[in-house]
C-alpha cells in the first residue's frame, strides 16, 4: 500500500467516523445520556487522530503544507473545526452543540472527499473562482435537504410512536438503515474496486471503466453495508420502540415545520447553485446547459423539490405525505452527489486521470 492510498483510507475512516459521531451527538441531544457523549468524544478523538495522520501523510508526500487545492483546504477546514470543538468541550460544557458542529465537520470533509485527487494541481476546467462559489452553495443546499430529511424521518417515527405502532417504528428504522448501509456500502465498494480511469484527450472527460471483479467488489460492499445497516437499524428500532421515547422527540408540528424549512431554504440555494453552474459552464465551454449527467440529476433533484413545494404550498399537503417526500428527496440528492460520480461519467467526474 502506497502513501497516497493510506492517506485516502485514513481520510475516509475519519469522514465516516464524523458521520457516526454526528449520530451520537444528536442522540445525546435527545436522550441527555452522559454515557453517549463519552462514547461520542472517544470516537471523535480517534477520528481526529486518523484525520491528522492523513493530513501529515499528504504534507509528506506533496512536500508542501496541505492547503493548495480544494480537497486539502476543505479537509484542513474540517479538521480545524473538530480540533477546536474538542478543545472547547474539554473546558466548557458545550457537548450539546456537537449535534450541530460535528455534522458540519462531516459535511465539509465530505465535500473535500469529492475533490480528492493525488497531490497535484486541479485540471484546467476546474481552475476558476466559480468552483468555490458553486460548490459551497450546492453543498449548503445538500446540507439543508439532509436536515429536512432528518426531521421528516423523525416525524414518521414520532407519528408511529404516538399511535403506538411499534412494529412500524421498527420497519421505518430497518428500511432507513438498510438503504443508508447499501448506499455507503456501494460507495465504499467502489473505492475498494479501484476502477481503471480513462480520460478522453479532447474533452478531458474522465470515466471509470469497471471490470467484472470491480462490479463484484462494489456488490460485495453493498451487501456488507446492507447487513451492517440492518443490524444497526434493528438496535435503533428496538431502542426507539419504547412508550417513553416519544416524549424526548420534538412535537409533530415542530418536526413538520423544520422539515419544510430545510427544503424552503435548500431549494433557493440549489437554484442558485444550478444558476452559478450554468454561468460557469458558459464561461468555460460556451454553453449554459449540456445535459451532462450531473447537470441532469441536479435538475431532477430540483424538479423533485419543486414538486414538494407545490404539493405543500398550493395543494395543502402536510405531515406524513410531506415527510415521506422529504425522505425520498435525500435519496435523489445522494444520487446526484455521489451516485452520478460513481456510476455515470461526465464533466463532474473529478477523478484524477492516469
Amino acid at each position: 500500500m502506497d502513501i497516497n492510498r493510506l492517506e485516502e483510507l485514513l481520510f475516509i475512516a475519519a469522514v465516516i467516523s464524523y458521520l457516526v459521531c454526528s449520530g451520537f451527538y444528536i442522540w445525546y441531544l435527545i436522550s441527555r445520556n452522559e454515557k453517549v457523549v463519552r462514547l461520542a468524544t472517544l470516537v471523535l478523538v480517534l477520528a481526529l487522530v486518523a484525520h491528522t495522520l492523513a493530513l501529515g501523510l499528504r504534507w509528506y508526500s506533496s512536500g508542501h503544507a496541505p492547503m493548495s487545492d480544494l480537497y486539502e483546504s476543505l479537509s484542513l477546514f474540517g479538521w480545524g473545526i473538530v480540533l477546536f470543538f474538542l478543545i472547547a468541550q474539554r473546558f466548557y460544557p458545550v457537548q450539546a452543540a456537537g449535534a450541530l458542529v460535528v455534522p458540519t465537520a462531516f459535511l465539509i470533509t465530505s465535500i473535500a472527499g469529492v475533490f480528492y485527487q493525488g497531490p497535484e494541481p486541479l485540471v484546467p476546467a476546474l481552475q476558476s473562482y466559480w468552483l468555490w462559489i458553486h460548490v459551497t452553495i450546492a453543498m449548503l443546499s445538500y446540507g439543508l435537504f439532509a436536515l429536512s430529511f432528518g426531521a421528516g424521518f423523525i416525524y414518521i417515527v414520532q407519528e408511529y410512536l404516538l399511535k403506538k405502532h411499534y412494529k412500524n417504528v421498527m420497519y421505518t428504522f430497518l428500511i432507513l438503515f438498510a438503504a443508508l448501509g447499501l448506499v455507503l456500502g456501494f460507495w465504499a465498494g467502489s473505492w475498494w474496486a479501484e476502477p481503471a480511469k480513462v480520460m478522453d484527450q479532447t474533452t478531458q472527460i474522465v470515466s471509470n471503466v469497471y471490470s467484472a471483479t470491480d462490479y463484484l467488489k462494489i456488490l460485495g460492499g453493498g451487501i456488507i453495508g446492507l447487513a451492517i445497516g440492518l443490524v444497526l437499524g434493528y438496535f435503533a428500532g428496538k431502542g426507539a420502540s419504547k412508550p417513553g421515547f416519544a416524549k424526548r422527540l420534538p412535537s409533530l408540528d415542530v418536526l413538520d415545520e423544520v422539515s419544510y424549512r430545510g427544503i424552503a431554504f435548500g431549494f433557493p440555494l440549489l437554484t442558485i447553485g444550478i444558476i452559478t453552474g450554468a454561468i460557469w459552464a458558459d464561461q468555460a465551454w460556451g454553453r449554459w446547459w449540456g445535459w451532462d449527467p450531473k447537470e441532469t440529476w441536479s435538475l431532477i433533484t430540483w424538479l423533485f423539490y419543486g414538486a414538494y413545494l407545490h404539493t405543500r404550498l398550493t395543494m395543502g399537503w402536510r405531515g406524513r405525505h410531506s415527510a415521506i417526500i422529504a425522505v425520498i428527496g435525500l435519496i435523489v440528492v445522494l444520487f446526484t452527489y455521489l451516485g452520478v460520480n460513481l456510476f455515470l461519467s461526465g464533466l463532474h467526474s473529478y477523478a484524477a486521470p492516469t
Binding site: 497535484e120 484546467p124 476546467a125 481552475q127 424552503a264 437554484t271 464561461q283 465551454w285 424538479l303 404539493t311
Partner: protein
Amino acid sequence: MSTGKNEALTQKLESESNFFGRSASDFAIMIITAGTMLVLDIVLSVAYYRSNSAPDLRWLLALLDIVVILTFYGAFGGRVKRMLLSMKLALTMLFVILLLAIIGTILPQGQDVAASGWTTNPLYGFYSRIGLFDVYYSRWFLALLYLLGFNLGFCIIDRLPTTFRRALRPRTDVKEIFIRKCPAAATIEGAGDHGAEMAKQVLSKHRYHLHEGESHTVLAEKGRWTGLASIAFHLSFIFIGLGAILAGTIGFDERLEVPDGLSMPVPHTDLRVTNHGFDMQTVPVKEGDRVVGYRPSVYSSDLELFQDDESLARKTITVNDPLRYASSNSLLTLLISNKVNLHQASYYQTSRGYVSVLQVTYKPGKSLIYFGFGLMMVGICALYFPHRRIWVKVDASGELLMGGRSNRSKVTFQRDFDRIVMDLRHRLVKQEA
C-alpha cells in the same frame, strides 16, 4: 346578409346542433384552425425529415404539435384553459420530465451511442426511432417542455390580477365572523376603543403597516408585495426559455481547430482568427512514486481576431477565460447579446505541432437568459417573506377582536401573533394599574 339575420342563424344553429358542448360555428372554427395547423405540422415534418440539409426545426415542430393537440382537445369539448391552469397538470409534467431525464442519464446520448455497446442491441433500432438516444432534443421532450411552459404562462396570467388587487387594495371591510374564524385569533374582553388604539400602537411597534377601514376595522399587514415574488420567479422561466430558443435558432456553437501559428476563418462570420502560439504546462501523473505519464495543468492559445486584415482583438485564452468580441456596441448588444465567443475547449498534437481546439459560440438571447437568472434569484429569495395580515375590530359589546392570517410559515406567525397579543394584554393591565 343583415346582422340580425346572421344572429338569428347562429341562434338557430346553437339550438339545433350541439357539437361536444359547443355551437356549430365555434366547433367549425376550432376544427378548421386545428386542421390547418395539423396540415402545416405534417408538411413541415415531411420536409424536415426528408431533407438532409434542413435547419433544426424540432423546436418549431414540437410547438406546432402541442398547439394542434390543444386545439383539437378544445374542439372536442375539452376545457383547455382549465387544464392549462391546473396544478395537477403541472405536477404530472414535472414528474414525466423527471422520469424522461432519468432515462436520458441511463442510456447513452448523442455521439456517445457509437462508443457504447448499444448499436448491436436488437432494441437499438426501436429505441433510436422513438428518440431514446437523444431524449433531451427529441421532438416529444421539447413538446412536453412547451406544455409545461404554457401551463406556467397561463398560471402567471391568471394570478396577476389577484396579486395586484391584493397588493393595491388592502382588505379592510371584513365581518366580525371573518376575524373570529382566522387561523390565529384572540379576543380581549372589555378593552373597547381604548384597546383598539393600544393595539394599533403595539402593531406599529411590531413593524406592521396599518390601514384603517370603514366601521373601525383596522388591517395591519406586512409584506403586501411579496405576492409578486412568485410571479417573478415563475416568469423567469419564460425569459430563460425564450433566450434558449433564440440562442438555439439564430445562434451557433461550432468546433474550430486552429493549428499553432496558422489562421482560420471563423464559421458563420466574416472574421478570421490567428493562433499566435499554443502554450502548455504539464504535471507528472504518479502511481505511487512512479511517474506514469503527464497531464496538462494549464494550456492557452494566444488568439487574434481579424476582419479584412484589420485587427479587432487579441487575447491569450485559457479554459475558463474566453475571448469575447462584440461587433458593435449598440443598444442591441444590451437587449440581445451579439458577442462572438472563442473558448479554449481542448487541443491535440500532430507531427507538425499542437492544434488548438476552440469552441466558437454566438448566443443571442444571452441577456434574456441572464435577466431570467436574476429574476429567478430575486424572486426565489423574496418568496420567503410572508404576507401577514392582522385585523382588529371592536364589536358591539366592547370586546376587542383580533384575527391574523399568513400565507406561509404559519407556525412562526402564530408565535408572532401570540407575542403581539401578550404585549397588548400587558400594556392594558399596566395602564389599569
